[in-house]
Amino acid sequence: MNGRRSDETVEQVRPGTAHRERDAAVTTAATDAARIEGLLPSQTPLQLIDPQGRPTAGHGALPPPEALRRLYRDMVVGRRFDTQATALTKQGRLAVYPSSRGQEACEVGAALAMREQDWLFPTYRDSVAIVSRSVDPIEVLCLLRGEWHCGYDPYEHRVAPQCTPLATNTLHAVGLAHAARLKGEDTIAVVLLGDGASSEGDTHEALNFAGVWNAPVVFLVQNNGYAISVPLAKQTAAPSLAYKGIGYGVRSVLIDGNDPAVVYASVREAVEGAAAGGGPTLIEAITYRMEAHTNADDASRYRADAEVQRWLARDPLTRLETYLREHDLLDDERAAAVQAEAEEFAASVRERMNQDDELDPAELFEHVYARPTAQLVAQRQELLAELGNQEDA
């Protein structure tokens, strides 16, 4: 890949080390130049498989065949899940759904590159990544179904609640990862954010904290071109979003976000580097959201159909499928089996989402404080009395 600082991958992991290292670095221009070189992203996005499904030369090794086949499987299932969720909004089963169609390489690539003990910090658009992390899809959709804010236990699969305010999850990831180092745990955090979130203050504070603390965090920016309707050109004047890491001393990588192989390999390399004490990495993945921001959005008001068509030709699923077939890693039978698996997954989601669970209004009061307050105990009694009266009437 593009040159991790190999001599620094096993550096001491105590807080403050990076700072002293930097103090020393400013004393020699030569060290400075090498350090800057180590932080810089490439000029063009790294690729391992090109849009025609051919391996590219000189960008590093492809992930092993088993990893590629798992990527394919999870991407097919992920896309089917995404389509199913979109359909559920039309039936009124989901209040809203932000599709990630077209971003499956990032979603699945990131989730599969992580180790079991690592934490994922997703946003509201990252349902496919969470599903790929083996969280029950019904629990993933709980937020969008309107039954509760987070439907899964974050500790069970080490997935933080989907974050709706932009960029705030970046700081949580840095805190959790830094705590892991303080506790001596072999755990790192991968945080997902978008191009819009890269403009928020918290992203900058998180990159700065991560750099100063040498925290084991991977920032994966899924640059899908638009923050709702605002295009990248109105979002930033930087040559690329990957440059946002450099000012904070965070190694930065620019990749093709529609190439599942390069997403997987880059995130895996950053995860392993962070786990070995190499500190944080910012990865900008150039991708595209094929659908509107959510089902409530009209994307035709801000982007041309020709642009969408151009990106359809870069579909990450087609690209991986072409590569796998041409390298005898996938045949019709196997593809059909994966498709059947995806259909079964979607059917199960559909069926389970058609059940109306009974919600307990008393639960509204249960999780506000770990120790219930007298005021909430009183309000709980008031609400239950009110509901009892309604039933009597």
């Binding site: 933080a160 840095v174 805190g175 959790l176 892991a180 404080y369």
Partner: protein, 322 residues
């Protein structure tokens, strides 16, 4: 009081290896008010450490650390400097426990020096309690005495809920000999600091001293004044405060923060709902003016003082004082 807070932090750090203290200037400098003096030297820079100057970053990373089993106690340098952290406090610190159906607990303490009376320049003297008390999921406490500063901070650190810990700046240097102990009223409780029969004065944080002085001065006018130190602003100790007002039939709420939409409005509303038939007079508020915190040479006009409190007591419809 600064010494009592320092002792509370030191004892909490010694008792529980999960406790961390961080913020800007808390390590080598010991905090701008010296509340963290000597802690980094004693406990090392992995337990007590300086952060970059970024309040949202301080609270946001504290949330992640708490998710991973640590107990962060973070410092906001001054009240108004905490505003960049407001989103992290209201959207995440207050809500993660709720959003995750109780799976994630955030035992984070955010220490915020608050209020004026120290001749500070702009943005250094805000009373921001109403912003925090209006947010479900947060506990908001404010000690009024050095002994209680120790007790309340130990309770706040031991509490599984996030706590906004408001430290009255003007009381940092108050010197009262006090035994520092973890025995005392619970974190949800108000305390009666002075018993009386004619009127209940209600204060917290920086106004506790003023209210006690006013109660003393009122004796000369013939009023026997009870003083309540709220300690816990959220949740509110209805039982203790209502019982007092029912006994006395009169009440005055005192705080430095602006009046309109202020914390006192909540206190008055609750007491009116709970004690209306016991009241001899409307409950009055003595508060700061409805202005941004004034420049130091004019702050005495803004801050509630003994005279203003005595004037308020005099307006409580006393037949025998007309």
């Amino acid at each position: 009081m600064a010494g009592a807070l320092n002792a509370a932090l030191a004892d909490a750090l010694a008792d529980d290896p999960r406790v961390l203290v961080f913020g800007e200037d808390v390590a080598a400098l010991g905090g701008v008010f010296r509340v963290t003096d000597g802690l980094a030297q004693r406990f090392g820079e992995t337990r007590v450490f300086d952060t970059p100057l970024a309040e949202s970053g301080i609270v946001g990373t504290a949330i992640g650390m708490a998710m991973n089993g640590l107990v962060p106690v973070v410092e906001m340098q001054f009240d108004a400097f905490a505003y960049p952290a407001f989103e992290q406090i209201t959207s995440h610190l207050a809500k993660l426990h709720n959003r995750t159906r109780g799976k994630v607990a955030l035992p984070v303490v955010v220490r915020v020096p608050f209020g004026g009376g120290i001749g500070g320049v702009e943005h250094h003297c805000d009373s921001s309690e109403a912003y925090y008390t209006h947010t479900p999921g947060l506990r908001v406490v404010a000690p009024g005495t050095p002994a209680d500063a120790y007790l309340l901070l130990r309770q706040a650190i031991a509490c599984p809920d996030p706590v906004i810990f408001l430290e009255p700046k003007r009381r940092y240097w108050s010197r009262e000999s006090a035994e520092l102990t973890t025995n005392g009223p619970g974190i949800d409780s108000a305390a009666i600091r002075r018993a009386g029969t004619d009127v209940t004065l209600i204060g917290y944080g920086g106004t506790v001293g003023t209210v006690l002085d006013a109660a003393e001065a009122a004796t000369a006018e013939g009023w026997d004044v009870e003083v309540i130190d709220l300690r816990s602003l959220s949740p509110f100790d209805d039982a203790t405060v209502s019982a007092s007002v029912r006994r006395t039939g009169r009440a005055v709420v005192v705080h430095e923060a602006s009046r309109f939409g202020g914390y006192g409005a909540e206190v008055v509303a609750r007491l009116t709902e709970q004690c209306f038939h016991y009241l001899q007079a409307p409950i009055l508020r003595v508060t700061g003016l409805d202005i941004p915190y004034p420049p130091p040479k004019l702050e005495q006009h803004h801050l509630p003082d003994v005279d203003r409190i005595l004037d308020a007591i005099a307006r409580l419809q006393w037949d025998d004082h007309v």
